[in-house]
């Protein structure tokens, strides 16, 4: 078990290095650089040349790569070119904002999806099942931004119940303790719902399918024969087995947890990783892009690792 973990972690480190290197090359080879965007008329054209010199953009690619790598292995990801602050500081600010949003969204997705699937399976192919199938299919097919804008139109502007943007209201930003937390919660509702609504559809549809398969398995029939109610057979016996693939699905969504959703963050003015990386890409902010890429790759590696480990714990047939 331990050797397996070490091997996987070792492979993970190599993967992170590979992805960061490829990102470094791709961004460096892309046309334009961070200095190209200094286009203000008051800025003398010579300032662009000075910018390139300051940030070492005039040095050859291998030299730039070597000094970046030397810094990165010691945990120094450099200074963001567009924000002029430490990359680690910038990431440390954005990451919790994204995590609060995406983890709640994922939670809603799973709980809502599992709940709906169980309700559907009470009477498969009945009217309720069909209605929910239609609803989940619609939700699954809807673009996230459409859902987000519809939610804002209804809950912020028509009903005036929830704020349309930002993490905190102006008063909330000045407040401390519970009032601040409550304000944050109010601001979380719509973006989390927007993430959840589309996700719920996917989870519910997936789980309904696998539960339908499991229901006719011998062990479920055996449970029924032992006197379990259909509901007990479904929830206690079929569900744990049907949930197994969901572990993998959840593990795979860990990268989404840390890299966030650009669309949701732009629509709700949410200061998370999605917006940060989008702007970094447009501004050719290489140090920041690399920092974000490393975070996302670590999440992919960790997500797979955790999913495999959880799978092994949940399913005795799987051995390391």
């Amino acid at each position: 078990m331990l050797r397996w973990a070490f091997r996987r972690i070792g492979a993970g480190v190599v993967l992170v290095w590979l992805v960061a290197t490829v990102t470094f090359l791709l961004v460096s080879l892309a046309p334009g650089d961070a200095a190209s965007r200094l286009t203000d008329p008051r800025i003398p054209p010579a300032a662009r040349a000075r910018f390139r010199r300051d940030f070492g953009l005039d040095r050859p690619l291998p030299a730039r790569y070597a000094s970046w790598l030397a810094g990165a292995v010691t945990g120094d990801l450099g200074t963001s070119w567009t924000q002029r602050r430490q990359v680690t500081t910038v990431l440390a600010q954005a990451l919790p904002n994204t995590l609060s949003l995406t983890s709640l969204g994922l939670f809603l997705e799973l709980v809502g999806g599992i709940g709906l699937a169980i309700v559907q399976l009470r009477r498969p192919h009945g009217a309720g099942d069909r209605a929910i199938t239609l609803a989940t299919l619609t939700a699954y097919a809807m673009p996230t931004f459409g859902v987000a804008l519809a939610l804002i139109a209804v809950f912020s502007y028509r009903l005036q119940l929830l704020p349309p943007s930002h993490m905190l209201s102006l008063d909330g930003e000045m407040a401390h303790g519970w009032p601040r937390l409550l304000d944050l919660a109010r601001h979380l509702v719509l973006p989390v719902a927007a993430i959840g609504v589309t996700g719920v559809g996917a989870v519910a549809r997936y789980l309904r399918g696998s539960l339908l398969d499991e229901r006719t398995e011998h062990y479920v029939l055996a449970a029924r024969a032992r006197g379990c109610t259909p509901r007990q057979a479904l929830v206690r016996h079929a569900l744990p087995n049907a949930l197994l693939p969901l572990i993998t699905m959840t593990g795979m969504s860990l990268p989404f947890l840390v890299s966030g959703s650009l669309v949701i963050e732009v629509v709700f003015s949410w200061p998370g990783m999605g917006q940060l990386m989008y702007n970094a890409a447009l501004g050719r902010d290489l140090p920041l892009l690399l920092g974000g890429t490393i975070v996302a790759t670590v999440a992919v590696v960790a997500g797979n690792l955790l999913a495999d480990a959880a799978y092994a714990l949940a399913d005795p047939r799987v051995r390391m």
Partner: protein, 544 residues
């Protein structure tokens, strides 16, 4: 990336639709009880901002317009540039300096500072601060983007605590403007940080300000709260208690919140949204000529565009008037030449090129472009007249323009292929000269110096003349005009330059865009003009 861009533009369109549904307004923020007639003190104005600020130290800033506005509210400047550049080079009004005078030989400029100006920690603002600021501006370790602006200022001398003298190495028209450029920073606080450490210093942690407002809070990517400074020399101004910048990266979202009453001011409204703002009885739309203007840049180095008859034909062949009216819906003017028509130096006798396809066809024929093989496309020595017209991706206005130009030139037998290019890549292709034609926007400074845009680029020097325009006579005139200290004499030279450039048509001059600012109608006293949205922020107040 393109998929994401596409998603974004779809999102913008959908959000615009959404905004039209949202028309309920919440009550405006509470204002203190009125104290008689005239301006009422108190209240806050919430301003929508597209992006957060990255630094409060102007000399570490990369010149972002929104950032410059916030800095201007927090730090003192010697003088305020006035929006009167239509009549003559801009004049200046007193701010930190109450008066100023030149020496007889015009090489020394003396400023008298107001004795009652204080930094937010109570320390007086003195001549030492002005000198310290100058040293920072000139220091290569600080490496501020506007460093070259101070090239002809040799030294700044502290005469006494409230008198400071600028020594120039030469006499030229923009001495006052160059001396004034950049805000004064606190020597007693920031002088403790060595210049070579400035780039890695967070100046919000040693923040001492000296403007009408202080920084009360900054929540990254969310909100910047400016609080009225009670020790400000212009008391009881500013009348407003707070100025709040809410970061809203999505323009459609900004408007939706304006209509809902959550935002009081949107500094830049897209022309296609203007009618909706005008139709709302609670809102006011302020419109004035911006200094942004659009062109089609022809790559003058390429043989296709090297002949000025061809470039003139292209300008004649595009229905520019229809294009500007269609795309900007009346919120832009047809451009004429290399100096904006709203500037004092604009040559009012310049002829406006008409839309004349017959004349265009004749000029193209003179230059050897004919449809010899009858395929509907012009050709010359086996080369067809076809080119790529680049424009920035996700810019719907310029996309519309590209399509209209394509349609107009197709009637002349010219094949235009509109190509959208991601913005940073577009700039780099322009800089490298790797393009045929490009839809481009220039922003004109109030300091008229045509060198960087229209002079032949000298090797090693940076240049904005990416189209490769080169006319020795224009080069000579520009060099003479920029040295001429008398602006009426400079105007004569500038007129000749404009005539020459319009005759050469190195670019097709398309439009001069208006700036559209939307505010709450209850906001009083705001003189929003070409010198800046917050030009007279001291005098803003909420009506009862």
């Amino acid at each position: 990336m393109t998929a994401r861009r596409r998603t974004l533009s779809a999102l913008l369109a959908a959000a615009a639709l959404l905004g039209s549904l949202a028309c309920r307004r919440t009550p405006a923020p509470a204002v203190k009880e009125p104290t008689g007639e005239g301006p009422q003190p108190g209240g806050q104005v919430v301003v929508a901002a597209l992006a957060d600020i990255t630094t409060l130290n102007e000399y570490q800033s990369s010149g972002d317009a929104g950032e410059a506005e916030v800095i201007d509210l927090l730090f003192p400047a010697l003088m305020v540039e006035q929006p009167d550049y239509q009549l003559h080079p801009p004049s200046f009004a007193p701010r930190l300096a109450t008066s100023w005078e030149f020496s007889a030989d015009n090489r020394d400029l003396t400023f008298h500072l107001r004795p009652d100006a204080r930094w937010s920690d109570g320390t007086p603002v003195t001549a030492e601060d002005v000198r310290f600021t100058f040293l920072a501006q000139k220091d290569p370790r600080v490496d501020s983007v506007g460093m070259e602006i101070k090239d002809f200022i040799k030294d700044v001398e502290v005469v006494d605590p409230h008198t400071v003298r600028f020594h120039f190495s030469r006499v030229y028209p923009y001495q006052l403007m160059d001396a004034n450029d950049g805000h004064i920073v606190p020597a007693h606080a920031w002088g403790k940080v060595p210049f070579d450490k400035w780039r890695t210093t967070d100046f919000e942690k040693i923040l001492v300000t000296g403007g009408p407002f202080r920084l009360a809070a900054h929540i990254p990517q969310q909100t910047i709260v400016l609080q009225r400074d009670p020790t400000y020399w212009n008391a009881p101004r500013p009348y407003l208690d707070r100025l709040v910048f809410r970061i809203l990266p999505d323009m459609a979202g900004q408007l939706a919140q304006l209509f809902a009453g959550d935002v009081d001011l949107v500094p830049s409204v897209a022309p296609q949204e203007a009618d909706r703002v005008v139709a709302d009885p609670d809102l006011r739309l302020v419109e004035y000529p911006s200094r942004l203007w659009g062109i089609v840049g022809w790559n003058n180095r390429r043989s296709m565009f090297a002949d000025r008859r061809v470039r003139r034909a292209l300008s004649l062949g595009i229905n520019r008037k229809a294009l500007v009216d269609t795309v900007f819906r009346g919120h832009a003017k047809l451009a004429t030449g290399p100096i904006l028509s709203s500037m004092w130096a604009f040559d009012r006798s310049l002829p406006q090129l008409p839309y004349d396809q017959a004349q265009a066809a004749a000029l193209l024929a003179q230059a050897g472009w004919r449809d010899t093989n009858g395929d509907g496309i012009l050709d010359r020595s086996d080369k067809v007249f076809a080119f790529d017209l680049l424009y920035p991706a996700a810019n719907t206005l310029r996309r519309q323009m590209a399509l209209l130009i394509q349609a107009d030139l197709a009637r002349l037998g010219i094949k235009v292929r509109p190509v959208q290019v991601e913005f940073t890549s577009l700039i780099s292709r322009a800089e490298a000269g790797n393009f045929d034609a490009v839809l481009w926007v220039w922003e004109e400074a109030t300091k008229i110096d045509l060198t960087s845009t229209w002079s032949t680029p000298s090797p090693g020097q940076g240049s904005n003349n990416f189209i490769g325009y080169s006319n020795p006579e224009v080069d000579r005139l520009i060099a003479v005009a920029r040295e001429e200290p008398d602006y009426t004499r400079a105007k004569v030279l500038l007129d000749r330059i404009q005539e020459a450039i319009v005759a050469d048509q190195p670019v097709t001059f398309l439009y001069e865009a208006n700036r559209l600012v939307a505010t709450s109608r209850r906001l009083e006293g705001a003189d929003i003009n070409a010198a800046g949205v917050f030009f007279n922020i001291d005098d803003w107040y909420w009506s009862r």
